[in-house]
């Protein structure tokens, strides 16, 4: 029974989150008086920008940082999360030993006991209920080596088909769309291309807060005269410099994009030569947007017809237009169509495959790109290969030394795994780098599901809200405690250096997984002692795939400050820009227009729940907050979730800034303080989702998925709001 074993108060007092404000030894102590022994050139552990940073290390402690100005992506720049990231290593909440659940709560255990128990329980469940009765959750903050290892561990170590990862909540809609339209799941352009664009459109991308470093690229383009279009229900920090702001209603981006394509076709702004030479399916797509004139789209989106015309003309009249998109487009039940529409605009205007021209997806998670390429996605094998492709199965099985027949088929996606746990189909779960209780939609459902697990094992460095439900918690490692690679937002493969050893008895994640595989009797497939050995195998497994890493080595990354995949041979320089010369990755070499169909959201607003609820991030927190809610300086910047609402809605409900407000959806209600601002649509409220329990935005969101990408519809829910008497609840 995976119920939380002790009271919340007891858990919090032992495992936090406590706020760390001080470097090891204090401000006046170690950091101030002692110089660092070494500066380790590595990367930030947080978002997909993967900024270069130098960690100051002394006595096996990360004591601080120095900017790394030579690294070309961020040139020393860092957001506040990057500045304070080093505060985790010596954090008082770090797990220093494995933990075993007892009736009284968690007790520290020896590794042998914890790992033997984990292996025994997983084996027992599989013997009793079948191989697929256990599932594995991975995460996109893991290095590529660890991601690869998790996929192999699930399929070879456990023999289950159910492995998926928290990137399912992040990048999969764009990935699915780009794969369908362009033949590969990758942002086509290196970020320097942004500075060369004449027109930039950011849609569903809160760049200033969620990809802060990208702001400088956009501003540099503006300095050169580029025009900026921002489409978002909120007036985000970059919107105040927008030449055109489109206040799109949540869940209606598709109508806006279809109307823009309508105008581009109607007014002859397409690149006919490009379409004829390099694409298929244009006529069908053109027919699908024929009805979407700006007037009709205005009624759906709340964006003025004139503004839609203008945006379409700016993009269509330039051959250096870039369309940038992120979770705002993806987190919808039509997330894939949204991204396909962006790609269709780029293709129709010939804005792709050149400097300053392209559709680009802004990956959110640290290794959002690399973590989804090598096999922890439920339907993929290393190298971005399909798990259902017989040739791919044979290649990877060959590298792994198993028969292709022993390789399980595709399993459930992240939310489907939780659904199957809730329904009793899946009985056991091993999870790393994932905090589903905070990050999955409909948190009450997630909690019910976790409580039904017959065995739940977690590998983590802090006791997350989810880990508190575990039977065993294996004390793992922070990013800076194990070497590896990640791929940043541009698909630049970069080198994560090991700066320190894990503290106490905590272990490197890959060591834990390999040890577990040995105890499951599968040790011969996991002979790795160092991440480098895993990378060498990954190079072979990815060889010939779309995400071909064969030509990449750690040394080559260091010499070149990153290598863009695909990189098929050791003398290949890597591929910063895809699709040059109109060559796409489908077997026919062409890009495929996808026809677009308008769909309403999963749970549209109605009389009872008349207000749109949308969720997202703030700049000082990262994802489920497992890490950032423990860093004092970041918590001080945004201590509690606030409900952003427009004065017009606030006046209607007699709410002022700071008042407590109960937000109710069809699933649950939470009470938060209002933040009354003119920077959001009057029909919409916004809540950042980084918090658990009664402050969790995901208690309100719903489990509707995009049918293809299986991403949840975080960005559109229906809610009602009422002023509350106090923090506890209703008025």
């Amino acid at each position: 029974m995976a119920k939380v074993p002790s009271s919340q108060e007891e858990l919090s007092s032992r495992f936090g989150p406590h706020l760390n404000y001080n470097p090891p030894g204090g401000w006046q102590g170690a950091q101030g008086s002692k110089q660092a022994e070494t500066l380790v050139k590595t990367h930030c552990c947080f978002c997909g920008q993967q900024c270069g940073i130098q960690l100051k290390v002394r006595d096996n402690c990360v004591m601080g940082f120095e900017p790394w100005e030579e690294f070309p992506f961020n040139r020393g720049m860092l957001c506040p999360k990057g500045v304070k990231r080093y505060m985790q290593g010596s954090h008082p909440d770090r797990l220093l030993d494995p933990l075993m659940r007892t009736e009284q709560g968690f007790r520290p255990a020896k590794w042998d006991e914890a790992l033997d128990f984990t292996a025994r329980r997983l084996r027992e469940l599989q013997e009793k209920y079948g191989k697929d009765s256990v599932a594995v959750y991975g995460g996109a903050s893991l290095t590529t080596e660890k991601s690869y290892l998790m996929g192999k561990f699930a399929r070879v170590g456990l023999g289950t088909r159910h492995i998926d990862y928290n990137g399912r909540l992040c990048m999969v809609s764009a990935g699915t769309a780009y794969k369908a339209a362009l033949g590969v799941d990758r942002s086509p352009n290196p970020w320097n291309d942004i500075t060369q664009a004449e027109v930039l459109m950011a849609i569903g991308a809160n760049v200033g807060e969620c990809a802060p470093i990208t702001t400088d690229y956009i501003w540099r383009a503006r300095d050169r005269g580029a025009r900026l279009i921002v489409a978002d229900p909120r007036f985000t920090p970059i919107a105040r410099n927008a030449d055109l702001y489109l206040p799109v209603r949540p869940g209606t981006d598709l109508a806006l994009l279809m109307a823009m394509l309508h105008v581009i076709i109607r007014d002859g702004l397409t690149d006919r030569e490009f379409i004829a030479a390099h694409t298929t399916g244009f006529e069908k797509t053109a027919a699908s947007v024929e009805m979407w004139n700006p007037r009709r789209a205005a009624e759906v989106t709340g964006v003025a017809p004139e503004a839609i015309e203008k945006a379409a003309h700016w993009i269509g009249e330039s051959r250096k237009s870039m369309l940038m998109h992120a979770r705002g487009l993806e987190h919808q039940s039509k997330g894939v169509e949204n991204c396909e529409a962006v790609v269709a605009i780029a293709l129709a205007t010939g804005n792709i495959g050149r400097e300053g021209a392209g559709p680009i997806m802004i990956t959110g998670q640290g290794n959002g790109q690399g973590g989804r390429e090598h096999g922890q996605k439920c339907d993929q094998l290393p190298g971005q290969r399909s798990l259902t492709d017989p040739a791919a199965r044979e290649h990877v099985a060959g590298v792994w030394g198993i028969s292709p027949d022993d390789l399980p088929g595709p399993g459930y996606t992240a939310v489907e795994i939780m659904n199957a746990i809730h329904s009793g189909e899946i009985k056991g779960l091993l999870s790393i780098c994932f905090n589903p209780l905070v990050s999955l939609p409909d948190a009450n459902f997630t909690r019910e599901a976790l409580e039904k697990l017959e065995f739940f094992g977690v590998i983590d460095f802090f006791l997350s809200e989810t880990a508190a439900h575990a039977d065993v918690v294996l004390a793992g490692s922070l990013q800076e405690e194990e070497e590896g690679v990640t791929a940043n937002v541009e698909a630049r493969v970069i080198h994560i250096k090991k700066a320190v050893d894990p503290p106490g008895n905590a272990r490197r994640d890959s060591e834990i997984i390999c040890d577990l595989a040995r105890r499951l009797g599968r040790g011969q497939y996991f002979p790795f002692t160092e991440p480098r050995e895993i990378f060498e195998e990954l190079r072979l497994a990815s060889r010939g795939g779309l995400a071909d890493y064969y030509g990449i080595t750690y040394e080559k990354i260091d010499q070149n400050l990153g290598i863009f995949w695909p990189c098929p041979t050791l003398d290949h320089p890597g591929t910063p820009r895809l699709f040059e010369g109109g060559r796409f990755f489908h077997p026919d070499g062409k890009a495929h227009f996808m026809s677009l169909t308008w769909l309403d959201s999963g749970y549209p607003v109605d009389g009872e729940f008349p207000v749109y609820l949308t969720t997202g991030r703030v700049v000082s927190h990262y994802l489920s907050g497992t890490q950032t809610r423990r860093i004092g300086a970041l918590v001080d910047q945004y201590p509690e979730p606030k409900l952003e609402m427009h004065p017009r809605l606030a006046e209607e409900k007699h709410i002022s800034s700071g008042d407590w407000v109960t937000v109710t959806s069809r699933r649950s209600a939470i009470t938060l303080q209002a933040m009354v601002v003119r920077t959001i649509r009057p029909d919409t409220v916004f809540i950042p989702y980084h918090w658990p329990g009664g402050r969790s935005a995901n208690r309100l969101t719903h489990r509707t998925l995009d049918p293809r990408s299986k991403i949840p519809e975080y960005k559109v829910s229906a809610c009602s709001i009422e002023k509350a008497a106090g923090p506890g609840g209703r008025a």
Binding site: Y21, N22, W27, Q28, Q31, G32, G64, F65, P67, E69, N74, G76, M77, L78, C79, P80, G82, V83, K84, G208, E209, P212, I213, T215, D216, W219, R220, R222, D223, G225, F235, T236, P237, I238, A239, R240, N241, V619, S620, A633, L634, Q637, P647, S657, M675, V676, V677, R678, T679
Partner: protein, 199 residues
């Protein structure tokens, strides 16, 4: 210093507060941030402004200090108060036309931006301008600013009749030569010196 100057452009600021956090991390600041940061009016706008000390050519803070605790270095940087001299009187806090100095009761002295003197005096960039993701705070050469930015650097400010020139530059619209913030600056009241752009 070393050919580089400090430029502040609030129009680029995204309010991320990276500068505030990084200022604490400078080896000599040790956990105390000396960045001035404001949400201009959060209800009405997302606009934010982060700024450092302007390092005046004739620093008012130093002029009004009864303890002679504020020094301007040869390279134009105006330091924080000298701990042994500062008497915590707050004269500087009240007198600075930009509102920069802060009296930190915990440390019993006035603290303000010293342009990371330990870094800039040896050719490094200050922490805030190094990390700033939007380069609203930038520490680059005048040539680089001239070549890359559409705004223009200005370092002459008017506060009533007080004309102040500073080491740090504000990025202003290309037609603004000087910055005046008071309607009175534009009002003819006899023989006072008027801001040229008023005409």
């Amino acid at each position: 210093m070393f050919g580089r100057e400090f430029y502040v452009d609030p129009s680029r600021c995204i309010g991320c507060q990276s500068c505030l956090k990084a200022c604490e991390e400078c080896d000599t600041h040790r956990g105390i941030s000396m960045i001035n940061f404001d949400f201009v009016d959060r209800k009405e706008s997302i606009a934010t402004a982060a700024y450092v000390c302007w390092h005046c050519d004739e620093p008012t803070c130093a002029q009004v200090c009864p303890a002679d605790a504020i020094k301007k270095y040869e390279d134009g940087v105006v330091g924080s108060s000298l701990k042994p001299r500062c008497i915590g009187c707050s004269n500087c806090v009240l007198a600075c036309p930009f509102g920069i100095p802060k009296l930190v009761p915990e440390y019993e002295q006035m603290m303000k931006c010293d342009m990371c003197y330990d870094r800039t005096s040896v050719g490094k960039k200050p922490m805030c301008a190094t990390v700033c993701p939007s380069q609203a705070l930038a520490y680059v050469t005048p040539e680089a600013i001239g070549a890359t930015r559409r705004e223009k650097p200005v370092n002459t400010f008017w506060f009533g009749n007080q004309k102040i020139t500073t080491k740090v530059y504000m990025m202003a619209p290309a037609d603004a030569g000087e910055i005046a913030i008071d309607v009175a600056d534009y009002t003819w009241e006899g023989e006072n010196e008027l801001v040229p752009q008023a005409f």
